[in-house]
Symmetry: C2
Subunit: 317 residues, 2 copies
C-alpha cells in the first residue's frame, strides 16, 4: 500500500529532513508544506525565505557551509543597492536574486505563490510537491521588549537580540490554507504527517495558525510524528532555545512535546535525549530515539527513514 506523506516544514532544519524524505520516497508520495510567515517584501521584491531554503536544499543549490542561500554566491547587486541608498541589511545574493525577481514578476502577473513555487521547483529538478502553507499573506510578528517587530527585522537585522514576549501571525485569520495544503490534509491515502525539526514557534506555528488546520491535524487518524529541533537541551541551529526560554517553555524535548501536545502521536528525539522519554510519554506522546543532527545527506536519509518507520510508513528498498 503506497501511502502519502505530508511533511510540515520551515527553514534550514526542516529543509534537511525534507531532503531526506525526498531521497527515500517516490516524488508522488510526498507533499512538503512550507512556512510563509517569514515572507516579506524587500527592495520591491517578494522574498520567501523558507520556500527558497527548501528549494535550494532539495535542488542541491544550497550553500551547506554558510547554512543559508545558494552556493557559489556573489554579492554584487546588494553592494550596489547599498550605494544607491537601498537597504542592504538583508543579504540578497546575486544568484538568489533571480528567485525573487522571477517570483515577483509572476505574482504581479497574477499567478499564485503555489503555482509559482511548483513551477520553479520543477525547473530546478525537484520531484515532490512543494507547497506554500497559504497563497494569502501571513506575516509573523514578534512582540518584544523593544516593541513589535516584523519577523525579518527581528531575525536578521536585530539577530534575535530583543527579548520576545509573544509571537503573532498577521493575516492568518483571513488566510486560507493553500489548495495543495488543504488537499494533502484531506487525502484518502494519507499515511502520515511529519513535523520537521523546524522552530515550533516561528516555523510550524504559522501553519497551525491557519483557519481549520490545527483542528484538522488534531482529528487526523494517521500517525503524526514530529522530530525534535532541540537536542541535549540546545537548539541545533538558530534562536529556538533563546526564544523558548523567553516564551516560558522548557528548553528540552519535553518543551517541544508540550508545544505539540494533542497534535502529534510520536516525537523523535536524539539519542542524547533518550532519558527524557518517560516525561514525554507522560504527555501521551510516544518517543523514538534516532540520531537527529543532520551533518550529511546520509544523516538526512537515515533520520528520514527512522521518522517514516516511526510513522509506520513503508519505504520501498
Amino acid at each position: 500500500m503506497s501511502q502519502h506523506v505530508l511533511a510540515l516544514c520551515g527553514g534550514v532544519g526542516g529543509a534537511k529532513l525534507a531532503a531526506g524524505l525526498a531521497a527515500v520516497l517516490p516524488p508522488e508520495r510526498l507533499t512538503i508544506v512550507i512556512n510563509t510567515g517569514d515572507d516579506f517584501e524587500h527592495v520591491g521584491l517578494s522574498v520567501s525565505p523558507d520556500i527558497d531554503t527548501v528549494v535550494y536544499t532539495l535542488s542541491g543549490l544550497a550553500d551547506e557551509v554558510r547554512g543559508w542561500g545558494v552556493a557559489d554566491e556573489s554579492w554584487q547587486a546588494i553592494e550596489q543597492l547599498g550605494r544607491l541608498g537601498e537597504p542592504d541589511w538583508f543579504r540578497l545574493g546575486d544568484r538568489d536574486l533571480a528567485m525573487h525577481i522571477a517570483r515577483t514578476r509572476r505574482l504581479r502577473a497574477g499567478e499564485t505563490l503555489s503555482e509559482i513555487t511548483a513551477d520553479l521547483a520543477k525547473r530546478l529538478g525537484i520531484g515532490p510537491a512543494l507547497v506554500p502553507m497559504s497563497d494569502d499573506p501571513v506575516r509573523t510578528k514578534v512582540e518584544t521588549e523593544d516593541g513589535l517587530l516584523d519577523f525579518q527585522r527581528y531575525f536578521v537585522a536585530e539577530q534575535c537580540h530583543p527579548v520576545a514576549r509573544a509571537i503573532g501571525f498577521a493575516g492568518a485569520r483571513e488566510a486560507r490554507p493553500s489548495p495543495g495544503f488543504a488537499a494533502a490534509l484531506a487525502r484518502k491515502d494519507l499515511g502520515a504527517v511529519i513535523v520537521c525539526p523546524s522552530n515550533p514557534y516561528l516555523s510550524i506555528d504559522p501553519l497551525l495558525s491557519l483557519p481549520g488546520v490545527r483542528q484538522q491535524l488534531a482529528e487526523l487518524h494517521v500517525p503524526r510524528v514530529a522530530v525534535s529541533p532541540i537536542v541535549g537541551g540546545q537548539a541545533i541551529k538558530g534562536p529556538t532555545a533563546k526564544l523558548m526560554t523567553e516564551l516560558g517553555a522548557s528548553v528540552d524535548v519535553v518543551g517541544v512535546a508540550r508545544h505539540y501536545q494533542g497534535l502529534i502521536d510520536k516525537l523523535i528525539v536524539d539519542e542524547a535525549d533518550r532519558a527524557e522519554a518517560p516525561r514525554v510519554e507522560a504527555l501521551g506522546i510516544a518517543v523514538d530515539a534516532a540520531p537527529a543532527i543532520m551533518r550529511s545527506q546520509a544523516d538526512r536519509i537515515a533520520l528520514a527513514k527512522a521518522t517514516l518507520a516511526a510513522a509506520g510508513v513503508a519505504v520501498e528498498p
Copy 2:
C-alpha cells in the same frame, strides 16, 4: 556671463560627449536630457538603458572595453533567471541589476523617473542635472520587413538584422517633456543646445517627438550645435549607418545635417569629413571640424571644448 548648456543625448556616443561636457562645465551650468524611448520592462523590472549608460559613464562605473554596462560586472543572476524560465536575452549584469531594482521599487512607490534619476545620479557623485526626456512612457518601435518590433527586441534580441522601414514613438503624442527638460528649454540664461553624437533616428528623434519640443528647438535664439555620429561615411558605433541606409538617408555628414535641418545652426564633423563642409553649408548649417572619435577621457574633453567653442559658450580655464 555664465550661460547654461542643454545637451540632448542618447546612449554610448552621446554619453561620452556628455562626460566631456561634465568635465569642462561647472555642474550647475549643464543639463543633460536623456532619451527614454529605449526604456522597457524586463523580468518585471523597469530598465532605462540610455539613462543608465549616461549614469555609468559620468560616474566612472561604465565598462569602457565592453562598451555597455558596468565594469567588473558578473552575470550570476541572469544565468539563474534563465534556469528559472525567465528570458535571458537581455544581459542584465549583477551590479547593473541594482539600478533596475532600485528604480522599479521607487517608481512603484510613486516617485517620478525624473526624481529617481536625479537622486541616483547624485548618490553616484554626478554633478550636472541628468534629466529623462519625459516622465511619461514613450516606447520606440521599429517597423521592419519582419513586422513591428519593440526597440530592445530589434536592437538586442534581433541585433538590428531586420530591415527597418520606419521608426515610431508610441505614447509620444500624449507624453509631456519632463519638468527638467521643459525648464531647461525655457531658461533665460540658456546659452547653447548641444545635440550629442547619438543615433539621430533612435536616440534623438524620441526627444524631438515630444509635443512642442521640435518647435521650441526650431525657434530658440541660441546656438544649436550637433556633433555628427557619422565619421568618414561610417557610424562610430552601433546600427546608425545600416539604419540610415534603410531609411533612405545618405550615410554621411550630409545625411545627418539634412536630418537636423531647421533645428541646428552648426554641425561638428570629424576632420576626415572636412571636405563635405560645402554640402552641409548649402543646407544653411555651418560646419566646424574637430576630432570626433572619443577613445579616451582626453578625447571627450577636447571634443566638448570644441563643441562649446563652436557654440560660443565660454568655459572657465
